[in-house]
């Protein structure tokens, strides 16, 4: 050991004289990347010293004190897990136990599709990872296909399919005048898309608008998809979080399944189990039969292997511990409902507060929309005023994260919104 150190010291001395100081950096032409529009909001918020500041930017749940929440069911699961199990590699497809429980949430507790093993499913790195696996899979096996993405959508959707090199098209979704769904144009776009097109659909609690199709509208969309032979890919990041009832929030998916569609689905536990940083999710692809499901799963694994080999175990263990224990599962369902109810309560409070200030505008969209986000209808300039004058942080598309609204700040927020919107 001593002689090795002496040798290495000698070499280090020599190497600094045979240096490369004269060579320029390989990276001098690298441009600074633009800040992520969503995560950049929190950075700016954190840097603001004002005591009145409010963060209604990123979609992470806060309690009525504005504090992040770790669910009790998660704490209990974690104390069960810590110290008991090893940390060996999961298989490439992840924790099968977690995946099985997760499929039940999306496809139904007693789904025949699960019993018949027709679903190819792998653990993924939360919703982002599930979408990316699917996008790469779509590129590999339908290299000439495109993805139809709603306008607007979560900004990262565009990045995901772009990096997977799948060309994007858009379909109408949000109707700015009514701050609701532009159903007629949506249906036109679905009808006019070439047969067999791939569509990205938000299963519930559309991000960023909070505008969801009604059950009737979902049935019509499903029917039209059948007529056109389109492929439906559902991004479900808010199951349980929208209405408070996971079964109800999965209605859109169940409608498509009843109609016989062979869907794809991305599921995330970031919000509904508060497991944000653990990166737990699932990608599933419904196939014709068990044989095909095995084949598709094997190919999904091939995409995961050169990306991260196998997914992280901790978050998956938390999920499977909770969902496979009836008491913990019930606790979770209660806690999800509490979170959803608080959000719904804040929507009512915000709307009422603004209306009480005598606004001449309509604010019913605040309570019509659902889930974590409210698409306020505020313009980027109005948003800038909210930030610069009132220290209220949100994304420039006017999206308010209702999770950041509390009984403590709803009055202040209502007042500020009223101020910037009445001088439109």
């Amino acid at each position: 050991m001593a002689s090795r150190t002496a040798i290495s010291r000698g070499i280090l001395r020599r190497s600094s004289t045979f240096g490369v100081r004269s060579v320029a950096s390989w990276w001098k032409n690298v441009d600074p990347a633009p800040k992520d529009p969503i995560l950049g909001v929190t950075e700016a918020f954190l840097a603001d010293p004002s005591p009145d500041k409010v963060n209604v930017g990123v979609g992470a749940y806060r309690d009525d004190n504005g504090k992040p929440v770790v669910l009790e069911c998660v704490r209990e699961a974690e104390s069960k897990i810590a110290g008991n199990l090893n940390m060996e590699y999961l298989p490439m497809g992840g924790s099968m136990k977690m995946v099985e429980e997760t499929l039940k949430l999306a496809y139904g507790e007693n789904s025949d599709l699960i019993k018949e093993k027709r679903i190819a499913a792998v653990q993924a790195l939360s919703g982002t990872g599930a979408c990316r696996l699917f996008a790469d899979f779509q590129k590999r096996f339908h290299p000439d296909s495109q993805i139809y993405i709603p306008v607007p959508t979560w900004a990262n959707h565009h990045n995901i399919w772009r990096d997977a090199q799948v060309p994007q098209r858009t379909f109408h979704y949000y109707h700015p005048e009514s701050k609701g769904l532009d159903f007629a144009s949506l249906m036109d776009d679905v009808k006019n898309a070439p047969s067999g097109s791939f569509f990205l659909l938000h299963a519930c609690a559309h991000n960023p608008t909070g505008v969801d199709p009604s059950e009737e509208q979902w049935r019509e969309i499903s029917y039209q998809f059948k007529v056109n032979g389109h492929f439906a890919f559902f991004d479900m990041a808010y199951q349980g979080f929208a209405s408070g009832d996971p079964e109800r929030d999965a209605k859109s998916i169940r409608i498509f399944l009843e109609d016989g569609h062979l869907i794809g689905c991305a599921q995330s536990y970031a919000k509904n189990m508060g497991l944000y940083g653990q990166r737990v999710g699932c990608l599933s692809v419904l196939c014709e039969d068990e044989t095909q499901a095995v084949v598709v799963k094997s190919q999904l694994q091939q995409i995961a292997r050169p990306m991260y080999s196998n997914p992280p175990v901790h978050g998956a263990l938390i999920v499977s511990t909770i969902l496979s224990d009836p008491d913990l599962k019930n606790l979770w369902l209660k806690e999800v409902k509490v979170m959803a109810d608080r959000i719904i309560g804040m929507r009512t409070a915000l709307r009422e507060n603004i209306e009480k200030l005598g606004s001449s505008l309509s604010w019913e969209h605040i309570t019509n929309q659902i889930g974590m986000f409210c698409y306020s209808g505020l313009t980027p300039e109005q948003v800038d005023r909210l930030t610069n004058e009132f220290h209220i942080y949100l994304t420039r598309n006017g999206r308010i994260s209702m999770a950041g609204v509390t009984t403590g700040n709803v009055g202040y927020l209502a007042n500020a919104i009223h101020e910037v919107s009445q001088s439109a």
Binding site: M1, I7, S15, W26, S195, L275, Q302, P306, Y308, P312
Partner: protein, 457 residues
């Protein structure tokens, strides 16, 4: 067709084109058959109707098992009581059990019991403390690059994730999209680089005749590489061969690479695991940083902290200036965000907890050395036992090679024989994981090797 799809990345773009053409052809034929079924017909949707159309993915063929992870799959299926898994490089105790380090358990308890800790999203670049301490671990706390604030470090999903993020960055921002990898190398390397969009070539590394390093071949191949090409270097404990250059050889490699403007990309998956010393195992990386040049380094905590399934690692890019490092970091975020948004928090929290605390850090180094020492002792036992048995051949490479793996020199027929007759599971290139051996199982392995060498050629 299926066979070819698995070749290393040098061929993959051609293979992908051929496969794409095949899929398109099949896709076209199924689309036309759908159209012929009267597109104007109203489809009646009922609750009980089942969908009669084909899956859009019905033309997909099943992917072959991953050659390394597939070994464990096969092992698990085997009902034999004497089966031995020498496939995947995961450490096992003398009792053949997986090991969670005591210091890791301690760190985990601290984290779990700390009610003030939350599990919010990490920043895209990961846990800041983790990044800081990881860079110090590989480059040395007194590293001029760290002092000079010119290292961009991002938390990634273990070694695989760090390599992939680095490769994607190179494919987008580096002027040379060519990477040289040693022959042989870890099976996942070519796939990672090819998928990221780099072209992959190899440089000679292993010499089957000596079961050591083909140093001349290495120098010749790197010497004839085009200026600016990226070169993948295993920082220590080369996987799968266990053959490492000496420090003098590393110095020659460094001089050659710098003179040709070749960009080093280190894969450090075994720091501390090879010799038992974290600093000694990092010497090759530090030599390159000391000369003031740039490089990339992928780190994994899978083996040296036993955090396999938590997927903890880091990618560092050593840059010329602080300003460059900051711009590089911003671009790394653009690679990461559309892949998984931000990395998982749990494993990185454990690592940061340990690296930050002097007592825990020391405890870790002791447990790490114990693992490395057990491996070294297994090498000796296996070597001695083969010699005592009189098994034909020179087996000294077993004790000359370093790290978790031994490249036995057995061919794929011999390996298949050992699996079928002796229930010994290893990769078909003859690589065995010494971590999977114990004093109790050495005799069984010796029997198998002896039989393979004498009965199968």
């Amino acid at each position: 067709m299926r066979q070819q799809f698995q070749l290393p990345g040098a061929h993959s773009s051609a293979i992908d084109r051929r496969l794409s053409a095949l899929v398109r052809h099949l896709g076209d034929s199924s689309a036309s058959s759908m159209e012929s079924q009267n597109p104007n017909q109203t489809i009646y949707a009922s609750v009980t109707a089942s969908f009669n159309g084909d899956s859009v993915f019905s033309n997909i063929v099943r992917a072959p098992e991953d050659p390394i992870l597939g070994v464990t799959v096969a092992f698990n299926k085997d009902p034999s009581p004497i089966k031995l898994n020498l496939g995947v490089g995961a450490y096992r105790t003398e009792e053949g059990k997986p090991l969670v380090l005591n210091v890791v358990r301690r760190a985990e308890q601290l984290i779990v019991n700390d009610r003030s800790r939350v599990k919010e999203y990490l920043p895209i670049t990961g846990l800041a403390d983790f990044n800081k301490f990881s860079a110090k671990l590989i480059f040395g706390a007194d590293s001029p690059a760290i002092q000079g604030n010119r290292v961009a470090t991002v938390q990634c999903l273990s070694g695989t994730g760090s390599l992939r993020v680095g490769a994607e960055f190179l494919a987008r921002h580096y002027h040379q999209r060519l990477i040289y990898i040693p022959l042989p190398t870890w099976g996942n390397h070519p796939k990672i680089f090819a998928t990221a969009g780099l072209s992959v070539k190899t440089y000679r590394y292993y010499d089957p005749a000596t079961r050591g390093l083909n140093f001349q071949g290495l120098l010749e191949d790197l010497g004839s590489a085009p200026s600016g090409a990226v070169v993948l270097l295993h920082a220590c404990a080369h996987n799968p061969t266990g053959v490492d250059p000496t420090l003098e050889q590393w110095e020659q490699i460094r001089q050659l690479m710098r003179s040709k403007g070749l960009l080093p990309f280190f894969d450090s998956a075994y720091q501390g695991f090879a010799s038992g010393s974290l600093d000694a195992d990092a010497q090759p990386v530090r030599m390159f940083v000391a000369d003031g040049g740039e490089c990339l380094a992928a780190q994994s905590y899978a083996k040296n902290m036993g955090l396999y399934g938590e997927r903890v690692g880091a990618l560092s890019i050593v840059c010329k200036t602080t300003d460059v490092a900051s711009r590089v970091e911003s671009q790394l975020k653009l690679v990461i965000r559309p892949m998984y948004s931000s990395p998982p928090i749990h494993g990185a929290s454990i690592v940061a907890t340990i690296l930050k605390d002097r007592d825990m850090y020391n405890e870790w180094t002791v447990e790490l050395k114990a693992m490395a020492d057990r491996i070294i002792s297994m090498r000796k036992q296996l070597f001695d036992a083969l010699r005592a048995r009189g098994t034909p051949g020179d087996w000294s490479h077993i004790i000359k090679q370093i790290g978790m793996f031994t490249f036995t020199g057995l061919n794929s027929e011999q390996v298949a024989f050992m699996t079928n007759e002796y229930h010994i599971y290893m990769t078909s290139d003859g690589r065995i994981s010494m971590a999977g051996l114990s004093s109790k199982t050495v005799p069984h392995l010796v029997d198998a090797i002896h039989a393979a060498v004498t009965r199968v050629v």
